[in-house]
Symmetry: C2
Subunit: 254 residues, 2 copies
């Protein structure tokens, strides 16, 4: 009996970002695992069981889904955004690495999705048009000193920076400290984008600057993009501005 485990990216927001591959993987599954609100986004199907769990129970969810698949079932874990970007795919790999042999021989398929930084960037223009990085501001799983060192490295070298997990009730001061750290390397006029709940009906987008970013509201549903020295803004009458990072690095031309 050979089971299968798919880890499926739903993209952020509603179903507009679902790919055909994701729809197929969800339809084929006998059992769906995931954070409750993600499962709620998937239309019910007869004969398909659902196993909702809390947002923070990633390891437990991974183990439950792996065990279920190892019993011979076709199981899918629904993941917000892309499962490979600060989401379920790494959790599942961690559990396979330390779990029973039966988990290693499973057919594991990861179905990519639109990750939040791509959706927020698309709404704003093309801020990720040049070299960029994605960094989680959560210091639950790595020390804050390492986060600061990484901010120094990428801001100093001219990367655009997407900040995942910028703030939470348990981590209230990290975001402000990150902006202060970035201000050592970047001018106060550097464009900063706050994208909240992009892809949902209550989505919002704010374009501000690094010097004003600390005053801008953010929560767990916010993805922040901090520009580089090259990032610029096109003001448009009657329309939202376009933020973009040119493909050419200006110094070379000058």
């Amino acid at each position: 009996m050979s089971g299968k485990l798919s880890i499926v990216g739903l993209g952020p927001g509603d179903d507009r970002y679902l790919t055909r591959e994701a729809l197929d993987a969800l339809a084929e599954a006998e059992a769906l695992y995931g954070y409750g609100p993600y499962l709620d986004r998937i239309p019910p199907r007869a004969g398909q069981s659902r196993h909702a769990s809390d947002n923070r129970e990633e390891a437990e969810r991974a183990r439950a889904a792996l065990g279920h698949a190892a019993s011979g079932a076709n199981v899918a874990i629904a993941s917000g955004g892309d499962p490979g970007v600060f989401a379920m795919a790494a959790s599942v790999c961690e559990e396979i690495a330390s779990g029973p042999d039966s988990w290693r021989v499973l057919d594991v398929a990861i179905v990519p999705g639109i990750t939040a930084m791509l959706a927020v960037a698309a709404r704003a223009g093309a801020p990720l048009g040049h070299d960029f990085c994605a960094l989680s501001l959560s210091d639950n799983l790595k020390p804050w000193e390492l986060i600061e060192r990484r901010l120094d490295a990428v801001a100093g070298a001219g990367f655009v920076i997407a900040l995942y997990n910028p703030i939470s009730r348990a981590r209230p001061w990290q975001l402000g400290k990150a902006f202060a750290r970035l201000a050592r390397h970047l001018p106060g006029t550097t464009p900063v984008i706050f994208g909240r709940a992009v892809g949902r009906s209550d989505e919002s987008l704010r374009v501000t600057t690094l010097s004003d970013a600390g005053e801008t509201a953010a929560d767990m549903a916010t993805l922040i993009i901090v520009g580089s020295r090259e990032t610029r803004i096109i003001a448009r009458e009657g329309r939202a501005p376009l933020v973009y990072t040119p493909r050419i690095v200006e110094e070379v031309i000058a």
Copy 2:
């Protein structure tokens, strides 16, 4: 008369990565612009004109599509992968910034897509499971010294690195030099993934190490992911290995 320009991400490969939003934008357009092979992936629709151009003619394509949309038409540019990642969205913004006022007032919509690094990562496991960056190795638009400086910064700070545009006929030596540069910071055992044409019927994936990466074949259709010191490989009997980067940074635990 108010036109509209959509810049639509098709994802890599065939139509498995197309989102509903992308399908809708393509279906609504009166005119489609894009690199020929991308347009060939979109089913024909009566009354919709097609304007294929060469891969290198991004600026010309952007100007033609903007001019067409400014005449009042609903125009879409088809982009491989995600339009915001080393693709058409930045080109269009650059042309809007320097173009006539009529281009600034246009309704511009960017539809995100699965970018190559997400598709390659999904095939391999979860190599982007922790902080990572995306870097173009093309020195057409930035000096090689800047690329080396960026490789130093991100490899030294522990980011996983996705290399876009790794090699071409006109840029034959850059990739080997990049691996040599990374070897200053990373052990020879660091996992390196070569994903070619992922999402197409002729896709291939190779998992090797930094010390052997220079001997591994790559071309313009290849996306390379270089792990960090934390990235590891799960060997699996009868199956491809899983490559992943844990969410926890090990030093902290030790």
